[in-house]
């Protein structure tokens, strides 16, 4: 399954250490794959929405979302369905594979992480998003500034971007 880790976990890898009990993932999930996905997360070990809910969310062209919670540890995974969102279409082919001794994960490109965090900050006002962005800007992560600026403009995020950089 095509996926990428984003959110605070991604900003932590790109920038400074941060404790989080939630993992955000963008997944290419089609209705036909939902049963197979849920089978990987047995109800005895995870809170998971009913299959029908996951099917509905996976069918949404944009903003499809559901979560899984590990009963034993409380760690949560928020899954965002890629759908037809153009930013997902841009980011998924640019995800970065990180090889680990135990396997590998794929990470959202930093431009995607920044744009989503700015949007979430605008929606909810949580300062954690601006903190994470500032940490990313201070780190050694290289950004495609042309793409970023074009998206900031088209999404009306110029003011949020100015605040994040202040």
């Amino acid at each position: 399954m095509v996926y990428m880790v984003t959110g605070s976990m991604a900003s932590m890898i790109y920038a400074e250490p941060r404790m989080t009990l939630a993992v955000d993932l963008v997944v290419e999930l089609h209705v036909d794959d939902t049963e197979r996905l849920l089978a990987c997360f047995p109800e005895s070990e995870f809170y998971r929405p009913p299959l029908e809910v996951v099917r509905e969310e996976s069918a949404r062209p944009i903003r499809g979302h559901f979560n899984l919670i590990h009963h034993e540890t409380g760690v949560k995974a928020d899954l965002y369905v890629a759908g037809t969102d153009p930013l997902h279409a841009w980011a998924l082919p640019r995800r970065r594979r990180i090889e680990m001794t135990t396997g590998w994960i794929t990470l959202a490109p930093p431009e995607y992480v920044i744009l989503r965090k700015l949007e979430f900050w605008r929606e909810g006002g949580s300062e954690k998003h601006l903190r994470d962005i500032r940490a990313m800007l201070m780190s050694e992560v290289e950004l495609d500034l042309d793409f970023l600026e074009q998206e900031l403009r088209s999404r009306g995020l110029d003011e949020a971007w100015r605040l994040a950089r202040a």
Binding site: D24, V75, M138
Partner: protein, 70 residues
């Protein structure tokens, strides 16, 4: 990526049921996983670095939030 900082109520219920030892164990596991992930990222980003230099970068990251050594 939620819009606020609050944990999900189901997570809060789980944390309340956990013993102190379980919580400490969870924190340690999260710390270890974060270090393993960051180390893997650093190995890819600095392929010329040997393991000693990667450990130095990891230490700098934990202490100062930065990985440049110069």
């Amino acid at each position: 990526m939620t819009t606020d900082d609050r944990p999900d109520p189901r997570q809060i219920a789980i944390f309340r049921r956990m013993t102190v030892d379980q919580k400490l164990e969870l924190i340690e596991k999260i710390r270890e996983d974060a270090l393993a992930l960051k180390a893997a990222w650093l190995r890819q980003r600095y392929p010329e670095d040997d393991e000693a230099r990667i450990r130095k970068r990891l230490r700098a990251w934990q202490l100062y939030g930065r990985t440049d050594l110069d």
